[in-house]
């Protein structure tokens, strides 16, 4: 047996929670140069736990940047595709860092901490590229960008029981906004054992949940406290395998799959993230995709055999009309799902196509994203 699809890397890095993962019996995988838990026991059990109760994920590999100074808001309007200056303190916003040619350097979440103080969370694998781009765009502005990734751990608690569990975590207090009043895509400040803790109601699973930013030195204690509080409510530690199937069901893009330097935002369905009427921002002049450029769609199929990243999408005549970027047998829905870039002529919902699964043609249907939407 040989792995057809597996990641590999060199000089791996570990998060502050490495010893915890090892003690829990995690299997590790390379992700963006980091050795991360891919699963603790079962991908499927971890996936279902997040949908039905809660899961806790170590996402400390992700990168954090602070953006501070009198011109911070104006700087972000220039450096990123969205209008971050319009965001009020306490809110978070999904945005894109574009290259001059309109390609995507990374997708990020921006949190407005104060009028002139923002936090950006970006993908681990793009940390260097993001730092370089952010630093290169400060010219002439009173703003300082710092890469603070090594100072912090990030722990995601996701699932319908997440809020209840977090209210019961020993050591978390001084919560600035009552739990139930914390809105999706907002943040609150708190203390964990007297030290600063940022509670962001964001996530990458399609469920309600929080991402907890804590000093690296306090990560193990907070991880333990979350597990202790969550145990009786069905919370389990969950790895990257479950995270990937959860985000895929939720129709959320993964950099390197649905997003890249070669993809323009509108192709990936992220046109709404770009505020094109802004006077100027990096990438503005080239942000419109070329005529005929492929567009991201959802695909569903029957049976149990999934299309995978890189497999061709073909029409009834066998002509290649697109390529899958992510695909799996959906644990929640029980049938194969995929995201794929396809020719503009094949993007309409209900269009019948075929997945070329290693030589076998499997019928599939173009479907609106997301595949899964949680009940409010």
């Amino acid at each position: 047996m040989t792995e057809l699809h597996d990641a590999s890397g060199s000089s791996p890095r570990y998060t502050p929670l490495r010893a915890r993962h090892e003690a829990l019996g995690a299997s590790f995988t390379d992700f963006g140069g980091w050795q991360m838990p891919v699963r603790y026991t079962s991908d499927l059990a971890e996936h279902h736990a997040v949908r039905e109760a809660a899961g806790v994920f170590d996402i400390s590999h992700m990168a954090e940047f602070t953006v501070r100074g009198a011109d911070a808001a104006a700087y972000l309007d220039h450096a990123l595709a969205g209008r971050l200056s319009a965001m009020t303190i306490g809110k978070a916003k999904y945005s894109l860092l574009l290259a001059e040619d309109g390609g995507i350097i990374d997708d990020v979440i921006v949190y407005r901490l104060q009028d002139d103080d923002f936090l950006i969370i970006s993908n681990a694998g793009n940390r260097d590229a993001v730092r370089e781009a952010l630093s290169a765009r400060t010219e002439g502005l009173t703003v300082t960008v710092d890469d603070v990734s090594d100072d912090y751990a990030l722990i995601a608690v996701q699932g319908p029981a997440a809020e209840q569990i977090l209210t019961e975590v020993a050591g978390i207090d001084e919560v600035s906004v009552p739990w139930a009043e914390q809105k999706y895509y907002s943040w609150a400040s708190a203390a964990y054992n007297g030290k600063p803790l940022l509670l962001a109601r964001t996530g990458y699973t399609g469920e309600d949940g929080f991402e907890l930013l804590v000093a690296s030195a306090d990560a193990e204690a907070l991880w333990d406290a979350v597990l202790t509080a969550g145990e009786s409510r069905g919370l389990v530690p969950a790895g990257l395998a479950a995270r990937d199937t959860l985000r895929l069901e939720a129709g959320m893009p993964l950099y390197g799959h649905e997003l890249s330097r070669e993809i323009k935002p509108a192709q990936a369905g992220l046109g709404r993230v770009v505020v094109a009427d802004k006077e100027r921002f990096v990438g503005k002049d080239a942000v419109t995709p070329a005529e005929g450029a492929r567009v991201l769609v959802g695909l569903t199929a029957e049976g149990r055999r999934a299309g995978r990243a890189g497999y061709a999408v073909v029409d009834a005549d066998g002509l290649v009309i697109g390529e899958i970027t992510s695909g799996a047998l959906s644990p929640t829905l029980g049938h194969p799902i995929a995201m794929a870039f396809v020719d503009p002529s094949s993007t309409e919902e209900g269009t019948a196509v075929f997945l070329d699964v290693r030589g076998t043609r499997i019928p599939a249907t173009v479907t609106a994203l997301p595949f899964y939407r949680r009940k409010k």
Partner: protein, 125 residues
């Protein structure tokens, strides 16, 4: 419980149990664990002629796809429909309930396969 030291192994993580001219083939617990939760298995038709090293099927987990390589040459005489119907058997019982195929083999078909100790050494590589 199968005595794992009586099995032969391939470097591609298949196991072989020989009984006269019949070899039963499966994948090891190491392979099943590495794949994660297995959700799809494809096996060949009975009567398929296999040469050593041929791809005889596939196992898919939520995360990845692996091809299954014939550790011995021979003719497929039986497939395990239970594991096709319930691929999770491969995670639960790789050496017993989740055998994959039975193959009619000729003398010497097992030559060159690994014993338990040699195989374990590879997985610790």
């Amino acid at each position: 419980m199968t005595d794992l030291t009586t099995l032969k192994y391939s470097e591609e993580h298949e196991w072989v149990a020989a009984d006269g001219q019949t070899a039963t083939i499966g994948i090891t617990d190491f392979a099943a664990d590495a794949l994660g939760d297995i959700v799809f298995v494809e096996l060949p038709a009975v009567g398929t002629e296999l040469t050593r090293g041929d791809v005889f099927g596939e196992a898919e987990s939520t995360k990845s796809v692996s091809e299954l390589y014939a550790p011995v040459a021979g003719t497929v005489t039986e497939i395990n429909q239970a594991v096709v119907d319930d691929p999770a058997l491969l995670n639960a019982s790789p050496f017993e309930d989740a055998w994959l195929i039975k193959v009619a083999i000729a003398d010497g078909a097992l030559d060159g396969l690994l014993d338990r100790d040699s195989y374990i050494a590879i997985t610790k590589g």
